[in-house]
Amino acid sequence: MKTSEGFKENVVEKKVYETYLSIVEPFKPIRSVRGIVNRLREDFKLIVSEKLVALVVSAFLIGRPVLFEGPPGTGKTEVGYGILTLWAGKKAFILPCSENYDEYRVIGDFHPLMAMKMGFTEESFVPRPLLAALVLDSGVLVDEIRRSSEEFQNMLLDIVDKRRIVIPELKRVFKAKGEGFQVIFTSNPEDIAQGELSDAFLRRVVRIKFTYPPEEVEKEIVKLRLGEDYRLVSEDNIAKVLAVINELRSKALHKPGPADTVAWTQMAAGLAKLRGKRKADIRDFYDAAFSVLLKRSEDEDVVSMVVEKYFKR
């Protein structure tokens, strides 16, 4: 692994290594499908199918970015982050998009005072995550891409397509050196106040749809995430939790995802611990339910009705 010492003349690369190398924490990359699936389960506590990982890896191999689309709480960001991290052997960068996100925030900017003093030089340049990812050969997770502007999407596509970043002020072109620089976008098409993705954007990406997992997988996720605390919840209550979640997915405005299921169960187990119980009972689940499941005031009646149906005290 190179260090900042290796870049005596390339100031930008030196800055990148100084600033970001400690964040990415390099390790040996994993490039096999089964290896990635196993490590996702062990290190990231994620249950991901081999099919999905194979599809993402295939997209990486043919040089296409991936778009994860699906409802909130289905693990898009976590899975994306996990795969990118394992593939590159470095922790991935996450770019949480917003409307005013632009190239200066992701590629780099010039420090105003230094630029006035020295002009647009490498010394006055401040590298940002996307450029850092390209230089460090690390993955980038662009979260909630629909929230960004179309110009920003197009700029990203150009970089991903050609695997290079041009900074005209510095008269420099930064090229990706390895296969580690990959991009995954996440998006939730049902979320409100978001733009549409253009046909040009969609044409270039491989789109993978995320859905709510089947009950047995969701139970497995809960078990994996709770770890030792899983002994605090009974099978019966887990089944009830999953029933509530499933019903709310069809009735409530805010549809709980597997993340909510995990959070609810974790909270119930935590409450049981605080209350000095050996197992979480109906009361613990009932008390924890509203803080996790009730995200919108319009859902108040529905949530209380469904929760009371299964966890009536």
Binding site: A54, L55, S58, L61, L67, D199, R203, V205, V206, R207
Partner: protein, 701 residues
């Protein structure tokens, strides 16, 4: 590419490409915007996915579970939520329905085998089959399997062989590929393809089977467009011999239709068989006879007996060589004076060479001498021409001796017959002799003194132009050719004047004179800038270009020549003149503007061949700017593999006006479709009507 019983897709790389192209075409039809790069990505990612997951079999075959296959393709092709259902529906249609169709066809084949109590790989003697097919339902089952190719006849061993189970996969694939759901229909379709490929001898050996098959094909309304003429003729003849008149007539009609469209097809056919079939079904009209004689002059022997009157009518429209043969055959049988009159007046002067030895009781001595003299002159011309073209002294000597005979005969004629007593026939023959003299002069250098005479006889019309073309083709000397072109250009100039005068007789719409719109911004700016006299800017009317598409296939000759001359008369209104047949040629403007070049172009233009309207329309659509497209055609697309309607849609969309002028005989269905697209289609009654209409279009544009 197929779905296995374990719901796995089995495919090779090249099959995957075809599959993806077809799938994407279908998805695009359903409104999904898919580019070629996505097809490429889909292929790449599927192959990589199979490699990563180990779904690769031997011999470069991939075998992937259908669900995986679907998910991978969906990731690349269905990018929006609302496209997912469309994608699934189309993919299921493509794969699952095909699999069920495959299963159905195999089941039907096995059902038929069961009915015949046969098994895969069996062999049965021909004699046994003869007994078997006496039962109608078994005959049906047997013939269906035979047509499909499940049963094959081995004539040497005298047995029928039933294919082994592994072998029927390719047969079933063919049926699935063409979405043939019904086994009988599939059998007919495959049989049709077999007839196209098999030899005539095979058809001859199995007449009954092939006749049954073709009858079924016709009954099921399958298109036999691709069946070669030779096979249609043979089958029609066999059907007639076997007293299956309906089949025979149907096939004969197709032949007649094809001959009309492409007369050169006659060359490939046995004329005696062709005439026999067409004659039996009363399909021999003057046009077909002309086509047959043009390409097979010897066919006159079979026609002379029953079709003498038709031959007389068609004489002017057949080629010179055929004319000679027809005339000599006609003169061998007794002819009335009127008939002789008609033959000589309609025949090409050069064809008179075949009248050398005629002796007729109903002609007087002077008429006989004159006709003989004309034939000698025609012969002398041919010898001279050959002598010049081949530089052969022998021909030259022969020409001189024949010419001497001509002079002797003419001396004899002028000494015996006073000029004022000339009969009508003699007048016609004299005119022909004048033309022949002109032709003769054209092959010897430094002539053309007779050209003004020809112009005087025929006037400034197309007849003169055609005659001059003949002289031009006969001439070998460049100087003579130049003189002929000059004379023809004079005729063209006169024809152009006629076209212009034609406009004055055509009704013209009275339109209000429109004032141009004032360009306010520029005018105000001008007022502010120059305080004195302001200039008011007005919008300039944009020029509208007329693109003229002229069909120069054989049937359109008469109209096409006029159209080209009219286009040259109104060169200011026309942007492009495009002539088309199976290919497309843009006539350069300098040719239209220069009468001599125009005449040369007309003389060298070959009418005939196939018609490709689609190509012409696509050429017109490619031209940019505001345009009016005028097409002159009979709307009969004879070149296969093109869709003129699709091109017409573009042409109508891209032009401000799309006008079609058609002769009385045209493809009405296509004309109606053009009308519904918004084109103006005018069917003209005759050439005069056509000239007036076209000239009016140019003038008004």
């Amino acid at each position: 590419m197929r779905l296995t019983a374990k719901n796995e897709i089995l495919f090779k790389e090249e099959e995957l490409v075809n599959f993806l192209i077809k799938l994407c075409k279908e998805l695009r039809n359903k409104g999904m915007p898919l580019s070629i790069s996505e097809v490429e990505n889909a292929m790449k990612i599927l192959k990589t996915y199979c490699s990563l997951t180990g779904y690769i079999k031997e011999k470069e075959q991939y075998m992937v579970p259908f669900n995986d296959f679907k998910e991978v393709l969906k990731a690349v092709l269905a990018k929006r939520v609302n496209y997912e259902s469309v994608f699934e529906e189309v993919l299921n249609n493509f794969v699952l329905k095909k699999a069920s169709l495959r299963y159905k066809i195999v089941r039907d084949i096995e059902f038929n085998l069961k009915e015949l109590r046969l098994h895969y790989g069996d062999r049965i003697p021909v004699a046994k089959v003869k007994v078997l097919v006496k039962n109608p339902s078994k005959k049906q089952a047997f013939y269906t399997l035979w047509k499909l190719g499940v049963i094959k006849k081995d004539s040497r061993k005298g047995v029928f062989e039933i294919a082994r189970k592994e072998k029927i996969n390719s047969i079933v694939s063919k049926c699935v590929e063409h979405n043939l759901k019904d086994l009988n229909k599939a059998a007919n379709y495959i049989m049709l393809k077999n007839i196209q490929k098999c030899s005539l001898r095979r058809i001859k050996d199995e007449k009954d089977f092939y006749l049954d098959s073709i009858e079924d094909i016709i009954r099921n309304k399958l298109s036999i467009e691709d069946l070669p003429n030779t096979k249609i003729l043979e089958l029609s003849l066999y059907a007639f011999e076997k007293k299956r008149r309906n089949v025979s007539k149907f096939l004969a009609k197709i032949l007649a239709h094809r001959i009309l469209k492409a007369p050169s097809e006659v060359k490939t056919l046995d004329s005696s068989k062709l005439i026999k079939v067409l004659k039996e079904h009363d399909l021999l009209d003057s046009q077909i006879i002309a086509s047959i004689l043009n390409y097979n002059p010897k066919a006159v022997n079979e026609l002379i007996k029953d079709y003498r009157n038709t031959l007389l009518e068609t004489l002017s429209s057949i080629r010179l060589e055929s004319q000679r043969l027809v005339i000599s055959k006609l003169f061998k049988s007794p002819l009335s004076k009127n008939e002789i009159h008609k033959i000589i007046s309609t025949a090409n002067p050069r064809a008179l060479s075949s009248l050398e030895k005629i002796k007729y009781n109903n002609l007087n001595a002077s008429e006989q001498i004159l006709i003989k003299a004309a034939s000698k002159l025609a012969k002398a011309f041919e010898y001279y021409r050959k002598a010049f073209l081949e530089n052969n002294k022998g021909y030259y000597d022969m020409a001189n001796s024949v010419l001497e005979e001509y002079h002797n005969l003419m001396k004899q004629y002028s000494s015996t017959i006073p000029v004022h007593k000339m009969s009508e026939l003699e007048k016609i023959v004299t005119e022909k002799i004048d033309v022949l003299n002109a032709l003769l002069a054209s092959v010897s250098s430094g002539m053309s003194s007779n050209l003004p005479y020809i112009l005087k006889i025929y006037g400034a019309g197309f007849q003169t132009l055609h005659l001059l073309k003949e002289v031009y083709e006969a001439a070998v000397d460049d100087e003579v050719k130049k003189n002929i072109l000059h004379a023809a250009s004079m005729v063209v100039q006169r024809l152009k004047t006629k076209y212009r005068s034609c406009i004055t007789t055509a009704k013209r719409k009275k339109t209000k004179r429109k004032t141009a719109n004032m360009v306010i911004r520029d005018s105000i700016y001008n007022v502010l800038r120059f305080e004195e006299k302001p200039i008011v800017y007005q919008e300039r009317k944009k020029e509208v270009k007329v693109i003229l598409l002229v069909d120069v296939s054989g049937s359109m000759r008469e109209f096409a020549e006029h159209a080209i001359l009219i286009a040259s008369t109104f060169t200011k209104s026309i942007s492009d003149l495009i002539v088309f047949r199976e290919y497309v040629v843009k006539v350069p403007n300098r040719i239209l503007k220069n009468p001599i070049l125009l005449v040369e172009f007309l003389f060298n233009l070959k009418f005939g061949g196939w018609t490709n309207i689609a190509l012409a329309l696509s050429e017109a659509s490619r031209r940019k700017g505001r345009k009016v497209v005028v097409m002159i055609s009979d709307l009969k697309q004879t070149v296969k593999g093109y869709n003129p309607l699709d091109e017409a849609k573009y042409a109508v969309k891209g032009s401000i006006e799309f006008i079609v002028l058609t002769p009385p005989l045209h493809d009405e269905a296509f004309a109606n479709e053009l009308k519904t697209l918004g084109a103006k289609v005018y069917a003209v009654n005759n050439v005069e009507d056509f000239v007036r209409k076209l000239a009016y279009i140019f003038r008004s544009s």
